[in-house]
């Protein structure tokens, strides 16, 4: 009886060890896939990954081709996307979690948001083209705008319809990432212990004060994780930008949010599908820059998250 129990025990220990081995193997598998990817791209990009790449415009000569316009386009579009999507996404999830009554309507909204997270991004591109870029045609066309203020090269230029511009790229990408932000922010808000809310309300705080001073600081790290995930998605999107009419060959950097733009995924896609092998190398170098840019965006979010984690109520 006793020895049987012991055997059973050691069998379980072996099982336990096997499971740990399995977990380590799986982790290494995904990490090594990333390493292989990075090494092949880095190897391919040798000779093109230099400062000239960042300061040159597109060219038919691979050795002269650069990503200046594409890089600034991506920075502008993604910044606008984040500035629009995070406040709206967070506000939506606060409403749904803290204020909305749990009835059929809110369940319907919730279901739709989860479904929207799975819609292919090109669909948002078509939406962005009709709603933001052309504005259903009620304000005329870009060449003959209904409202136009200032010189197209000045910083305060304004125009309706918005046209295929940076602001439309940002708005469209915001649509793409909004469902992701909402889903992850709600998850973060839900994980704030109810006892904290009750304590806050018990000492006389209003609901708004509770949300602002207790729930939000507690949920902020989780919300920012969602923001990081969505930036990573937005920075790599090519299809919706192509549909709303993002350009590819541009020899100037944006002057205002109504300027024409191009983005790095478009440029990379075009170079990678060119017949000349030298262009594939330029594409590889651009991919490295895109990854670094992504790290910068995410690094900023990570620093903010760290700050929030420090002010957490103990």
């Amino acid at each position: 009886m006793n020895s049987k129990k012991k055997r059973n025990h050691s069998a379980k220990q072996i099982q336990d060890k096997l499971f740990i081995c399995f977990c380590v193997a799986v982790t290494f598998l995904s990490v090594s896939a990333l390493v292989v990817l990075l090494v092949t791209i880095a190897k391919q990009s040798v000779g093109h990954l230099d400062f000239d790449l960042l300061t040159s415009y597109p060219s038919r000569h691979p050795e002269k081709a650069g990503i200046k316009a594409a890089m600034w386009g991506t920075v502008w579009v993604c910044t606008i996307c984040v500035l629009i999507a995070i406040p709206i996404g967070t506000a939506t999830s606060i409403y749904l979690e803290e204020f909305a009554r749990k009835n059929k309507l809110t369940r319907f909204i919730e279901l739709n948001i989860s479904n929207l997270a799975g819609v292919p991004s090109i669909v948002y591109g078509i939406l962005g083209l009709t709603v933001f870029a052309r504005m259903f045609g009620v304000f005329g066309t870009v060449n003959d705008p209904f409202v136009e203020v200032g010189d197209p090269t000045s910083f305060w230029y304004f125009r309706l319809p918005l046209g295929s511009s940076i602001i439309v790229g940002g708005l469209t990408l915001a649509l793409v990432v909004l469902p992701i932000i909402i889903v992850s922010s709600r998850e973060a808000i839900r994980s704030v212990p109810n006892s904290l809310r009750e304590a806050s309300l018990a000492i006389g705080a209003t609901k708004w004060e509770t949300v602002r001073k207790v729930v939000l600081p507690q949920a902020a790290p989780g919300i920012l994780t969602g923001a990081i995930l969505s930036t990573s998605r937005a920075i790599g999107e090519a299809a919706p930008l192509l549909v709303i009419g993002g350009f590819l060959f541009i020899r100037f950097t944006p002057a205002n949010v109504f300027d024409d733009f191009t983005a790095m995924p478009l440029q990379i896609y075009n170079w990678a599908s060119r017949p000349q092998e030298e262009f594939h190398a330029v594409a590889a170098a651009a991919i490295i820059v895109l990854l670094i840019l992504l790290l910068l965006f995410n690094g900023t979010a990570a620093i903010i998250r760290y700050k929030f984690q420090k002010v957490k109520i103990k």
Binding site: P58, L248, F249, D260, P275, E277
Partner: protein
């Protein structure tokens, strides 16, 4: 490889020299010119437009030229909506697209800029197939074809499995191939390896002894060490695709013209007019540099006179809106 690089460098040198001579002669005219030229459309035509725009930036640095790659169909949509000045197209405008332009009250000038030769390629180790007739190509690619091995096409060929590689069905390249092989009503079989990226097709055929595929000649010219081109029987003789046979029209029926469509109203803007003139003057050189084939000088001259007389509309549709078939030199007046 070094040879190719040498020619590239020589080309570069010549271009720089020509650009230098060109700018010094007319620098006073365009260096202060301002304005914008918006272009969108085919990604096949994009490399030529990009090359012209790059050179143009040396001559008129203050003109903001932007080029997109929405595809031929997408480009025409933006063109007819009045959002862009010029539409790149890897095929002539369709009757439906022309109708949208007419309804919007938009007139355009049709400008052929270069040739692309659709090249049929096989594996390097394929030593049996050197030439194909259009009928044999039909036997391989038409919908309903039961050919599974090369022997099914020609009984003297080995029983090697026949593997077909094709560009994406949304591309102008596929459209053109389909029109030649299947005609207006037929369709192409669907059991092929399809990729939007022609480099994937290059790798596919290069690694598959029984493979056969087709794409623009630029992809073949870059990969002559990996692939073998097949001559196509044009009715009188077997012709290999190269710049001479494509330019002369001998390489039929698979050589296709590439176009830009210019909005007539936009041509009133000095920046657009000077850009289009510059495009026509340099299209041949730039096309060759990026892997396409120049048009005969005669056709560029026809284009120049059409722009001078503002001849609008397409010449590839007849009065009933039916497509006009035939070689570019015969159709484009």
């Amino acid at each position: 490889m070094t040879n190719i690089k040498m020619t590239n460098k020589q080309l570069l040198l010549t271009t720089i020299l020509t650009a230098f001579v060109g700018t010094s002669a007319i620098a006073n005219d365009n260096s202060k010119l301002r304005g914008s030229v918006k272009i969108d459309g085919s990604s096949t035509v994009y490399p030529i437009t990009e090359a012209v725009a790059e050179e143009f930036a040396e001559e008129a640095p203050r003109v903001r030229v932007t080029v997109g790659i929405s595809g031929t169909g997408g480009g025409f949509k933006r063109f007819s909506a009045g959002e862009i000045d010029i539409s790149d197209a890897s095929r002539p405008i369709k009757a439906t697209e022309e109708k949208v332009c007419t309804e919007a009250g938009l007139e355009f000038i049709e400008v052929p800029v270069a040739y692309d030769g659709l090249t049929i390629v096989v594996n390097k180790e394929n030593d049996w197939c050197n030439a194909l007739t259009v009928d044999q190509i039909k036997k391989m690619f038409l919908d309903g074809s039961t050919a599974k091995t090369w022997q099914d096409i020609d009984s003297s060929w080995p029983a090697m499995p026949l593997k077909l590689y094709s560009p994406g069905t949304d591309s102008g390249t596929f459209d053109y191939f389909k029109e030649v092989v299947a005609g207006k009503t037929g369709s192409i079989r669907s059991d092929m390896s399809v990729s939007e990226d022609d480099n994937v097709l290059v790798r596919g055929v290069a690694g598959d002894k029984g493979g056969i595929g087709f794409f623009g000649c630029a992809y073949f010219f870059e990969n002559t060490d990996k692939l073998k081109a097949v001559a196509v029987h044009n009715g009188t003789a077997n012709v290999m695709p190269n710049s001479e046979s494509i330019e002369s029209g001998e390489y039929a029926p698979f050589s296709r013209p590439l176009f830009i469509y210019v909005n007539k109203e936009a041509l009133a803007k000095p920046a657009v007019k000077i850009f289009v003139d510059y495009y026509i003057d340099n299209a041949g050189d730039m096309a060759e540099e990026v892997g396409y084939v120049r048009l005969p000088e005669d056709i560029y001259n026809r284009v120049r006179s059409n722009i001078a007389t503002m001849k609008t509309g397409t010449q590839f549709l007849d009065d009933e809106g039916e497509k006009v078939h035939g070689a570019l030199a015969a159709v484009y007046k």
